[in-house]
Symmetry: C2
Subunit: 220 residues, 2 copies
Amino acid sequence: MLFDLDGTLVDSVYQHVAAWHEALSGCGITLSMWRIHRKIGMSGGLFVRGLMRELGRELDPEVAAELRRRHAAAYAARFHEVTPLPGARELLETLTRLGAPWAIATSGGGEVAARTVALLDVPSHVPVVTRDDVAHAKPDPDLFLRAAERLDVAIEHSIVVGDSVWDLLAARRAGALGVGLLSGGYGSDELQSGGAYRVYEDPADLGRHLDEVGIREPDG
Amino acid sequence: MLFDLDGTLVDSVYQHVAAWHEALSGCGITLSMWRIHRKIGMSGGLFVRGLMRELGRELDPEVAAELRRRHAAAYAARFHEVTPLPGARELLETLTRLGAPWAIATSGGGEVAARTVALLDVPSHVPVVTRDDVAHAKPDPDLFLRAAERLDVAIEHSIVVGDSVWDLLAARRAGALGVGLLSGGYGSDELQSGGAYRVYEDPADLGRHLDEVGIREPDG
């Protein structure tokens, strides 16, 4: 099982939205919160490019770099608000107990990812693949492909769990089964049309339905 | 045309989500951001009751009052971030120019509503109906019924424009046609299953499609 991080295991999407909004305002750019929300979870480069298209502007590389710096600072200022999503730790513990291999694959950079993963008590042997480890982040398939490789599991036998359409598009491109969670604030139709095989509310809800995605107790 | 305010004419839903999250945390209550988001726009009393149900707790009236006080303070601290949604002022100006009567009907309290309406340059003759003017806020129909009454227009000939399912449920209960906007961050399926006759992105998008909801140029 290959997990996205923000909005899937930790409740951080709305802080990212607010941080991008603050970064954009700081650069004199007004963009609606819901449009920012719908782009959270994709690679930072594509994200900035997508925002610029919505605004009908050309992408100035210096402004793009400034936006990313401002976002990082604004998100760091909100990080104390970020908590694990209900059932996230329990779900990961259950998978470990059942011997079902799992990993984390995030479009976020290594440093922020490390701080976030620290909220979850992840055992040191669990692979955590970040933006820094691959050439292209979501919706490219690289992050999930690398995570499956590090688990030594075929991607075709992997389940990708994510809260955004970018996770689900990346899952399809990788050849994995995608499961959607509503905990990032997307609508279930968006996740289903992104290719989600099933949609659950949050990690707690997925944990109650592991049978539906084919994860068995050892004697199952 | 009867407009909701937050998420429909101004970009304030995410600030309300953050303010409720801060208020809840301040009272020692952890609730996921997306669950708060899905309740924004309903009456404050129902909102707090709904949150308590999600948490499986009983509603203590003192805690409920404390939550509402904390939310008001946390929202006031974020109010400087709130801006009109793209196309909101232009849409309202167009309706005024076309002689199509319009009003604002919000589940928010009078004082905050007044500060918010001030962002929009609303002519003084336009009715603004707030929580303080009716016995029950959305999803009860009272706010929209009162707004139509103040315009002296039959509710059956009114169009309710809102970003949340609570607006659309209230519109149906009132007997008006409901139009949904994505600018509050709900998914379009949620708005459609709430009863939206049409769904647009934001006020700018609605303004480009007024013909689809039957609003004509004077010679149309």
